[in-house]
């Protein structure tokens, strides 16, 4: 770009200096940190990291610990339900808002504001609303339905669904916004053509519009899934993992092992499992999205 300089390394020097933080972060924190954790997940680290190899011991212990199994099960339930519901709700909301309605801005603002709140705030509000002594259960009972039971946060079997309610409230606005952007990006002629052919609106959505929105769906999917795997603060705030260990999740297992139980090895093994889960989703997506288009930059 500029005039010839003596050494290649010093060409474009300012840009390289400006990019040092990026290079350091990418190499030392992201790559280095990840490799470090994976390596140490094969060691017998307890209170402090120690390079004493134990092979797959940590993983064997991990997969025979009940708390971890419950965590995985919860993540699967929470993840599956969130995935299905957040897309259904998000898409329906977007479709309703896309009907050239009045007050669009107001409605959109109200649906999206939970997303601006932290998971801690979200968890605490819903802990309060779902409180059996004061919240929804009490109100329905005061209407005369004395035997009404709605006590998710104190009933181990369904506690994770109590968290799900809060998670959906917080996250569906985001999906709605992305879907709405996708719907707005669809050529109006598609609708006209479908209209002329006499295809009902719901069929047009299902068989024409949604397939056309594939890129939006995929990016949203990646965002939602990576968000699900990371779920931590919501659980801590809303249930603290309880009742008992009913709402434990992997991210909390990692934190508890590392910083509460002084069992670093378990934390490393568990976080490596989390990484593996994300990799199984992100890598195929990346190959699909960017694999064939090397020429783009």
């Amino acid at each position: 770009m500029s005039s010839a300089r003596p050494s290649r390394l010093f060409r474009n020097k300012s840009a390289k200096i400006a990019a040092i933080p990026m290079i350091v972060t990418a190499l030392f924190v992201f790559v280095g940190g990840t490799v470090w954790t994976i390596v140490y997940s094969f060691t017998k680290s307890g209170l402090l990291p120690r390079l004493k190899w134990v092979g797959l011991d940590q993983y064997e212990r991990l997969w025979s610990t009940r708390k971890w199994l419950v965590s995985i099960e919860n993540l699967a339930i929470y993840g599956f339900c969130t995935l299905v519901l957040v897309f259904v709700i998000g898409f329906i909301l977007a479709a309703l808002i896309d009907q050239k309605i009045r007050f669009e801005n107001t409605i959109r603002t109200v649906i999206l504001y939970p997303y601006a709140l932290s998971f801690v705030v979200t968890g605490l509000v819903w802990q309060w609303i779902l409180n059996p002594e004061f919240g929804v259960q009490k109100i329905v009972r005061s209407w005369g339905w004395e035997s009404f039971q709605f006590d998710p946060l104190y009933t181990a079997d369904i506690a994770i669904y109590g968290v799900l309610i809060a998670g959906l409230w917080q996250g569906s606005g985001l999906v709605m916004v992305l879907m709405l952007a996708g719907l707005r990006g669809i050529d109006q002629d598609v609708w006209k053509a479908a209209r002329i052919d006499g295809i009902p609106a719901w069929k047009t959505y299902l068989f024409i519009v949604i397939p056309m929105m594939r890129p939006v769906f995929i990016t949203t999917l990646v965002l939602v899934v990576t968000g699900i795997v990371k779920i931590y603060d919501l659980i801590v705030a809303q249930t603290g993992g309880g009742p008992g260990i009913a709402t434990e999740v992997p991210a909390k297992y990692v934190y508890d092992s590392m910083f509460r139980a002084n069992n670093l090895g378990q934390g490393f093994a568990a976080s490596t499992m989390m990484l593996l889960t994300v990799a199984l989703i992100v890598i195929p997506w990346a190959i699909l999205e960017f694999g064939g288009s090397r020429n783009r930059d």
Partner: protein
């Protein structure tokens, strides 16, 4: 209230006059009203609960408006609420959050905008490799990097301090912000850049005299994204700071979920709403820019 629209379309196409009170309109607006009320309900419950006294909470239901409005819970939440160890309220956490958020936002935006600028206009060999790693890094669960960063901060003597947390936020904000700035700078007309080069401006000259002044909207988007993100963070706060330096979200959680003493729900809700106030204000004031910030996360690199 304005009257419902005179014209509504079945799907977004050609005009076809409809009656105002058609079945479809009633259904559409009815559904939207219910949904809007549902989403608004928790905020309403928070506010209402925080303005009641404890006797009223025990008797009434969570949805009823306060009969006697009291601001005492807000005052107590701010200055006296207990976390099990101390009873200093949320104020310490609030100021810690301020002290964390402001430098983190400034530092992360300076660094990321320079990264993005270098990537967009001064691409050097290998730059894209680092950028790709950075973007993939955004998908790595934070838990994987928690402990290595503990060690790094300890080596630097920053573990447990506000400075350490600022550094952590700068690191983890980098992928999305770099992407945001890179995409924005790439979309600026290249002629501008070339003209400045011909006039003899260098890397820094172009950055400060052309790029920054032309990119104020994207800087605003970045600020919104970072302030809400950092303010709402819990995980990094709880891992990298200590009781004296806990950010607001952590002290809020400690106050509400502390097991000692009688639960004072009005104070808890006041504390919750105070914590949510900063991002909420930003959200309601910024409007479309907030949406642009989160949509940036969905833009592919």
């Amino acid at each position: 209230m304005t009257k419902p629209p005179p014209i509504l379309l079945d799907g977004p196409q050609g005009p076809k006059p409809r009656r105002v009170l058609s079945r479809r309109n009633i259904f559409l607006y009815g559904t939207l009203l219910v949904i809007t009320l549902y989403y608004a309900m928790p905020l309403y419950v928070m506010i209402v609960t925080s303005l009641k006294g404890m006797p009223e909470i025990r008797m009434g239901n969570i949805f009823s408006p306060p009969m006697e409005v009291t601001f005492e819970p807000w005052v107590k939440a701010w200055s006296q609420a207990c976390t099990g160890l101390t009873c200093k309220g949320l104020s310490t956490g609030f100021w810690n959050s301020v002290k964390i958020t402001i430098p983190s936002v400034i530092l992360s935006i300076i660094i990321a905008s320079l990264n993005g600028y270098a990537l967009a206009n001064w691409k050097f060999k290998g730059a894209n490799v680092f950028f790709t790693i950075l973007i993939f890094g955004a998908f790595i669960p934070y838990q994987v990097m928690l402990y290595p960063i503990v060690i790094m901060l300890r080596e630097m003597g920053l573990y447990g301090s506000l400075g350490g947390l600022v550094l952590v936020h700068t690191i983890f904000g980098m992928p999305i912000l770099t992407l945001l700035f890179r995409n924005y700078f790439s979309s600026l007309p290249e002629e501008l850049f070339k003209a400045a080069r011909v006039d003899g401006a260098g890397f820094w000259g172009i950055y400060f005299r052309i790029m920054v002044p032309m990119s104020l909207p994207i800087f605003t988007v970045a600020i919104i994204l970072q302030v809400t993100g950092i303010w709402n963070d819990f995980l990094f706060g709880v891992v990298y700071t200590g009781p004296e330096t806990y950010p607001m979200t952590v002290s809020l959680n400690n106050i509400v979920n502390s097991t000692q003493g009688v639960k004072e729900y009005n104070i808890n809700m006041a504390a919750t709403i105070i914590t949510g106030l900063v991002p909420l204000t930003i959200y309601f004031v910024s409007g479309r820019l907030f949406v642009r910030g989160i949509a940036a996360g969905a833009v592919k690199g």
